[in-house]
């Protein structure tokens, strides 16, 4: 009988697993809603029990885009930081638990309102559609909870530097700090609109709301939100993947540099989600489009680093020729396969993102289902497959179990199902979007013209893809439950990539946090001050609340 060995302390294991239980419950609920949506949109299926399409869509977006992501990301980053810095102390754990409970209570409050059909406002909850005040308070509580966990990560990193003066800080800890810094600065925007605009308005303390201001504050948050999803995947790709293939980190310093660039340029770009809105000067829209192209640069660097990591390892193993190194990769290891396919999905995902942000080109795709296709490639594939790949070793390594050959086989199956389902569904979404098919829409024949009738076959394809994805989700839940509760006891490696011993220490300035926060804030002030003043000063009379569901 093998001895159970956990890679984190028992107490930390409990903390991390608490996050994972919430995350995978969210996956189950959210992906089931996704299936129902694609079936309804096929036109061949009516939702049971009089459930509304838009209510299900709200659950899907909130539960997958906010709950699954946030809980998984925080659990993963805490685990990775703890593992590489030498563990969390009692205060750090306690504060993290406070954060977790705030997030969970907020989630349950918001979810209850959605299920009671009091908040059928979708994941973006745009005013002047007005939800029940408890929905807004629930979301605010989730955000505040994340701040607690963020402060733990800042504190732990500072403690490492104090206890290990002059040493290279663990890459995963550094990256966690950057990610949470970006998140905390960004989430101020959504916190302000929710607490100071929406709550008083939903309570009836004020009669109207400044809609454009609210949207601008939301999207100031909404773009870095997607980088909050992406950066943890990059963390795995840079600082864990090399260990899984038996190689080394390609460049520790360049990896840190890309994260600095991502911190600086993820936030002052929200206008590229508002390109077709009135009331914002095209000059400032274009400035933020330029800044958006700058934020593509660290991702270009990441692409190079990833290929280089694989090629270096492959050649080390004797690979010859231009692409011989591909054959040397551990394709049969689900811990490699899932994130690798995630990386491949990011190629069309990123290409689509550049198109979306290209100023007036956005008019071709705005609010069409192309956009939905885009983010199913990025967050739902690149990021999610990476998170699935993390789960295969993270869960057993912290519960003192093993990732068995059988679960590995299931992991390969899950990756294939997810890939096939997503390729079918997302391709159909992109194509239908270019034909003008709108997003966030229940099945309809509109006014019977040929252009809208042509969308039908794409929606059937989305139902096919969606059904395959649903099967993939079920397989993932089976794997998670097995790894958490039933897999044989033993010791599972927590893979941490090794820095090449030829690598110089990263430049000291990389840990000059005041500098990087300062530049981040300066860029935000540059991109937003004048247009925000304009929005506030030129505001029309505000809008009353509406409940159109």
């Amino acid at each position: 009988m093998a001895t159970s060995v956990k890679s984190l302390s028992n107490k930390e294991s409990k903390l991390i697993m608490a996050h994972m239980y919430v995350a995978f419950t969210a996956l189950f609920v959210g992906a089931t809603c996704g299936l129902l949506q694609t079936l309804e949109r096929s036109g061949k299926f009516t939702l049971p029990a009089g459930i509304g399409y838009y209510q299900i869509l709200t659950v899907h977006g909130v539960v997958l885009g906010l709950v699954l992501t946030t809980f998984f990301i925080l659990g993963f980053m805490l685990a990775a930081q703890s593992k590489t810095t030498g563990g969390l102390n009692k205060t750090e754990r306690t504060v993290a638990w406070i954060g977790f409970w705030l997030m969970l209570v907020g989630t349950l409050a918001a979810a209850t309102m959605i299920l009671l059909n009091e908040a059928t406002v979708l994941f973006t909850f745009y005013a002047p559609l007005q939800a029940h005040v408890v929905f807004y308070l629930g979301l605010a509580l989730v955000i505040v909870g994340t701040w607690f966990e963020g402060f733990v990560m800042f504190k732990r990193h500072a403690r490492f530097r104090k206890e290990n003066p002059g040493e290279r800080t663990p890459l995963l800890s550094y990256m966690a700090v950057i990610t949470m810094l970006m998140w905390q600065i960004a989430s101020i925007g959504v916190a302000v609109t929710v607490l100071f605009q929406m709550v008083p308005w939903a309570l009836g303390w004020v009669e109207t709301i400044d809609v454009l201001l609210s949207r601008t504050l939301f999207w100031y948050f909404g773009h870095p939100l997607v980088y909050f999803w992406l950066l943890p995947a990059y963390m795995m790709w840079y600082a864990i993947m090399p260990k899984i293939i038996g190689g080394k980190i390609f460049s520790d310093s360049l990896a840190r540099f890309t994260f600095i660039l991502l911190l600086l340029f993820s936030i002052p770009v929200g206008f590229h989600h508002q390109l077709t809105e009135p009331g914002i000067d095209p000059f400032w829209k274009f400035i933020q489009v330029i800044l958006t192209m700058v934020v593509v640069i660290p991702s270009m660097m990441t692409a190079f680093s990833m290929f280089a990591t694989f090629e270096a390892r492959g050649r080390e193993l004797g690979a010859k020729g231009l692409f011989g190194w591909l054959k040397k990769m551990p394709w049969k290891d689900a811990r490699f396969l899932a994130p690798f396919i995630g990386m491949l999905f990011f190629i069309p995902g990123g290409a689509g993102g550049i198109i979306n942000a290209s100023n007036q080109m956005n008019q071709v795709v705005h609010n069409t289902i192309w956009v939905t296709g885009h983010f199913h490639l990025t967050v739902a594939s690149a990021v999610m497959l990476t998170f699935f790949g993390i789960t295969y070793w993270l869960v057993p390594s912290i519960t003192g179990r093993t990732f068995t050959k059988t679960m590995n086989k299931l992991g390969i199956l899950q990756t294939i199902l997810w890939t096939v389902g997503m390729l079918i569904m997302s391709t159909a979404m992109h194509w239908q979007g270019l034909l003008g098919g709108p997003r966030r829409s229940a099945y309809s024949e509109y006014v019977g013209n040929a252009d809208t009738a042509a969308w039908g076959s794409y929606q059937i394809a989305q139902a096919v893809g969606g059904s395959i994805l649903f099967l993939g989700m079920i397989v993932m839940i089976i794997i998670f439950v097995n790894l958490a509760f039933f897999a044989p006891k033993g010791k599972e490696e927590f893979p941490i990539a090794v820095v090449s011993n030829k690598a110089a220490l990263p430049p000291k300035v990389f840990e000059n946090w005041k500098l990087w926060i300062g530049v981040t804030l300066a860029l935000i002030l540059f991109a937003y001050t004048i247009p925000l003043i304009d929005i506030i000063q030129s505001a029309p009379p505000g809008a009353k609340g509406f409940k159109f569901w």
Partner: protein
């Protein structure tokens, strides 16, 4: 920090590509009149029906092959000035489209064209489009506005 020679090549190629994209869209936007819809004119969202521009929605000819089209959106309807919900425009006509919403945010998308803008309470949204290709186009709402969101539509017929 040192970069491999090939990484420098890639970064040059990639950044150069992004720069070309920015120049193309920038010139097109600021010198060839293709700025994204950004009308700055405001109005009282509760006074749409009495506003000069929106009192009588519909198509009006204002010049040689030049038209003004005003449409008022509300949950869940596009008031195009007639009950058939059809607007007919001659092919090649330049149309100044103006729209707004009486309640929540709506989308304004003439599918298959570049006319795609957000309607926000308190703001007038405008876009000037030349309808180069004949055909029957559906105007759809592409921003969630409530349970009838997918039922908001009208027809734009571009005739030879």
């Amino acid at each position: 920090m040192n970069m491999h020679k090939y990484e420098k090549v890639w970064m040059l190629f990639g950044s150069g590509t992004l720069l070309v994209f920015l120049i193309v869209v920038g010139v097109s936007a600021f010198y060839m009149g293709n700025k994204p819809p950004s009308c700055a004119v405001t109005l009282d969202p509760e006074e749409v029906d009495t506003h000069t521009l929106f009192k009588e929605p519909g198509l009006t000819q204002i010049g040689d092959n030049e038209y003004q089209l005003t449409i008022v959106a509300s949950a869940f309807d596009y008031d195009v000035g007639n009950d058939e919900k059809i607007i007919q425009i001659p092919k090649g006509a330049t149309v100044h489209v103006s729209s707004t919403t009486k309640d929540v945010i709506h989308g304004f998308e003439i599918a298959g064209t570049n006319v795609n803008m957000m309607l926000e309470p308190g703001y007038i949204s405008t876009y000037t489009n030349t309808f180069k290709n004949a055909g029957t186009y559906t105007l759809v709402c592409n921003e969630y506005c409530g349970v009838g969101h997918h039922l908001m539509a009208a027809t734009i017929e571009v005739i030879e």
